[in-house]
């Protein structure tokens, strides 16, 4: 099959992760991966983002499939069950709102900017080299640190399940995928 422009979006996903090592403010671009799938599912009533444009999925296909960095075993039953998928979505949302709350605290002046990237919601890594100050409010940087933590954590989880199971195992429990599928169910019922 002839490759289309959107078959190269994995480059954008990879670039995003790399840019976060140099300037954390690039993390804001990650909002595109949040809003585009939602807009597509609401307007077009399909999962066009997952099906075509998801750069992260393409990256996993490439590394796990083409480069063979995957055991290609079946994912355990519980990981594809509804309760795990919806549970992970809720957990992800909770962590996301916690991140927004921390951003709010910095904006309000209650706390200072923390130049760390939190991996797996637990491990705080120093990340000061990627912040060189901004003319904007420090809260803008706090959001970037928080959002990059979300993106890096989910990428790591995705890579772990890619190695253990099939390349795109992340797609099974991806919160955005679960959410857009729910939106499609609701939108197509009308």
């Amino acid at each position: 099959m002839k490759k289309k422009w959107y078959d190269y979006l994995w480059i954008a996903s990879l670039l995003y992760l790399i840019l976060g090592f140099f300037n954390i403010l690039f993390a804001w671009l990650g909002l595109l991966c949040f809003f585009i799938p939602l807009i597509i599912s609401v307007v077009q009533k399909n999962k066009g983002y997952c099906n075509r444009y998801c750069g992260r999925g393409q990256l996993f296909s490439l590394v796990g499939g083409r480069f063979g960095l995957s055991r290609k075993k079946d994912i355990p039953k519980w990981m594809k069950s509804k309760w795990f998928r919806y549970g992970f979505l809720i957990f992800f949302f909770a962590m996301f709102f916690l991140m927004l709350w921390n951003t709010y605290l910095v904006f309000s002046g209650a706390t200072g900017l923390k130049q760390t990237v939190t991996l797996l919601w637990t491990f705080k890594l120093p990340w000061h080299w990627a912040y060189h100050g901004t003319i904007l409010h420090p809260g803008v940087a706090q959001f970037a640190f928080g959002f990059y933590s979300v993106m890096l954590t989910s990428t790591i989880l995705g890579f772990v399940t890619m190695i253990l199971f099939k390349p795109r195992s992340w797609c099974v429990y991806c919160p955005m995928g679960t959410m857009t599928q729910l939106i499609c169910k609701a939108r197509n019922k009308e």
């Binding site: 999962k47 099906n51 999925g57 296909s61 594809k80 099974v172 995928g177 599928q181 197509n188």
Partner: protein
């Protein structure tokens, strides 16, 4: 001459468990599979030849190749 009818093989999606990621769509050589409404993958039985590429690709392993009577 004896008319031997061979059993055909087709892909079947477990629709309840499908996450509609579309990995199967990309690998189908006959474009027999699609995710029309973002809820589940749908196989066009008339086009499917049961090669099993989609079943192998499916990250949730919810596609099965089954024999059907022609």
């Amino acid at each position: 001459m004896v008319n031997v009818k061979r059993k055909q093989r087709k892909a079947f999606v477990s629709t309840e468990q499908c996450v509609a990621c579309g990995c199967c769509v990309k690998v189908c050589p006959l474009h027999a599979i699609s995710v029309p409404k973002g809820i589940t993958a749908v196989v066009d039985i008339t086009k499917c030849v049961g090669c099993g590429k989609c079943a192998k690709e499916c990250p949730a392993s919810v596609i099965e190749i089954q024999e059907v009577q022609p």
